[in-house]
Amino acid sequence: MILKMSWRNIWRSPLRSLVVMGAITIGTWAIIFLMSFSFGMVKSYVNNAIRMETSHIQIHTPAFKEDREVGNLLPEAESKLATIKSSAEVEAATVRTILNAMLVAPKGTRGVIARGIDENEEIKVTEIDQQIVEGSYFGKGKNQVLMGKSLAEKLGLKIRKKVVLQFQNLDGEITAGAFRIVGLIDSGNKMRDDGSVFVRRGDLNRLIGSEKAGHEIAIFLKDAEQIQAKTAALKTDYSNDLIESYTEISPDIKLYETQIGTSFAVFVGIFMLALIFGIINTMLMAVLERTRELGMLMSVGMNKGRVFGMIVLETLMLGLVAAITGMILGWITIQYFSGSGIDLSSFSAGLKQFGMSTIIYPALDGAYYLQLTISIIITTLLASLYPAYKAIKLRPVEAVRKI
């Protein structure tokens, strides 16, 4: 009965209740949507970074991390790769030879990272073939190179033109090879497109003087949830090597991920602060205009605990109904956009610089809905305490006497 009374009491001043509920609904919706958008953005950035650069897990020899020196090879890279590939959690893995090189072109010279890749295995890990905007992936013939379209433009290079890559071989001598440009890449990350080129690992290995050489194993797992476990397992298997998950390889990703959690908390905090005052105000009004009725209820035997509970319940329902409506609306909005994404092409120039995709797919973990719900429940409860306290402080005689 008290539940019924509380619910009906909300609708005694429908306009006033609706205004507060509307504010809560819109606030909740806005938080959900903004957060899902931010998460979508981070996720796209992270996935992009994983797919293009870091993969899930990488293995190097520890010295390579400090000094990207040709001699810092990963011992027995190929046999390790074979073992790793055969494990159940691994979707794809590949080995790379990575050199600091000078790219010599008719119009200028530039320092780049030359990545020697196994053409068939690499595309299972990084999908680099998908990013070719001109020309094609490696084809027949030796010494082919893929490079960023933006880099090619800066150096005045075109497809089919030749460039020279210069680097140290394993004996410490400078060596060089002429490579023909077969494809131009636009990965969406301009900074990386400008700084690296892709060649066949075999071609590089021949030039540095070791068929089996490799500096890096990159692993892509079937399920991203397994990253921590697999990283730990690899650390015990190869205790002499440096095993890193993507958050260790690229701390900025980790930072992004924690940052977003913090900004969620800040958003929610600000919203709750505004909420608490709005609710106190509304409920105080509701209590004051019901003075006589509350006095009557206490006169006929409704004790203070029940009166208190009724006001708290009323506030809670007001807040929860609105919050849940807001969340459902938020969820619907997310569902609506998650199919096609939100196209930001008109702002994309800036985003591309940082390796973000121009279409954002908003998404929000269920845990955040729960967090938001709990925050709203706590806030509403807090906000209801003062009006409920006011209600039980009424003295029934005085309340009944008031005309």
């Binding site: 019924k4 009557m296 006169s299 006929v300 409704m302 203070k304 029934p396 005689v397 009944v400």
Partner: protein, 227 residues
């Protein structure tokens, strides 16, 4: 059997600012089944006396026993519980909970008393019938006339099976037809359930129906007539 026994009741409002001596030593005993009107000029202390008898207010001096129990020693929350189980109230106005139907209003106190659903339903129907509002069972107070609302209030007051019913000017807002109708109902319940009624009034027609008339003048009992 004595239902109410008030001795030497004094009430001083605002003792620290401008004191108002509303009751100046009232002794009053009410027997089970009496149908008593408290009358007197405006400001004579009728409402004050009823509030004290009903445990809504505390006397400045004197003692008050209801059903043999001294209620002056009870805490606020104990008083609320005491009222719930022992006293039925009918106020001049704003008796009913606006968001509840007639039936729910009558059930309300029984719910506070934790009575079973079967008992609640039976008593509610019985009382709605007694006050002649069986057909208004699902109406909200705003859909009822003033007289009908007061009849629901009387039914509500009796629902808890109280020791007695207190009514402060229950007919003040009613026309003469509704007034006589309400009094018929109160008199009938007084007869049938042997329920004790204590009510205040200014209305001569109401006074005429009472079996006992206690007249207050200036905070004291002037006359006390049984008929």
């Amino acid at each position: 059997m004595k239902v109410i026994e008030a001795k030497g009741i004094e009430k001083i409002y605002n003792p620290n600012k401008i004191p108002v001596h509303a009751l100046k030593g009232v002794d009053l005993e009410i027997e089970q089944g009496e149908f008593t009107a408290i009358v007197g000029p405006s400001g004579s202390g009728k409402t004050t006396l009823l509030n004290i008898i009903g445990g809504l207010d505390r006397p400045s001096e004197g003692s008050i026993e209801v059903g043999g129990k001294d209620i002056s020693a009870l805490s606020d929350n104990q008083l609320i519980d005491f009222r719930k189980d022992n006293i039925g109230f009918v106020f001049q106005a704003y008796n009913l909970i606006p968001v509840l139907t007639a039936k729910e209003n009558i059930e309300f106190v029984m719910l506070l008393q934790n009575r079973s659903e079967a008992e609640r339903n039976q008593r509610t129907n019985e009382l709605l019938k007694a006050v002649g509002l069986e057909d208004k069972i699902d109406k909200r107070p705003s859909e009822l006339s003033g007289g009908q609302q007061q009849r629901v209030a009387v039914a509500r007051a009796l629902a808890s099976k109280p020791t007695f019913v207190l009514a402060d000017e229950p007919t003040a807002n009613l026309d003469s037809e509704s007034t006589s109708n309400l009094l018929d109902i109160m008199a009938k319940l007084n007869q049938e359930e042997n329920m004790t009624f204590v009510f205040s009034t200014h209305d001569q027609r109401v006074i005429d129906r009472a079996h006992r008339i206690v007249t207050l003048v200036d905070g004291k009992i002037d006359t006390d007539v049984r008929r």
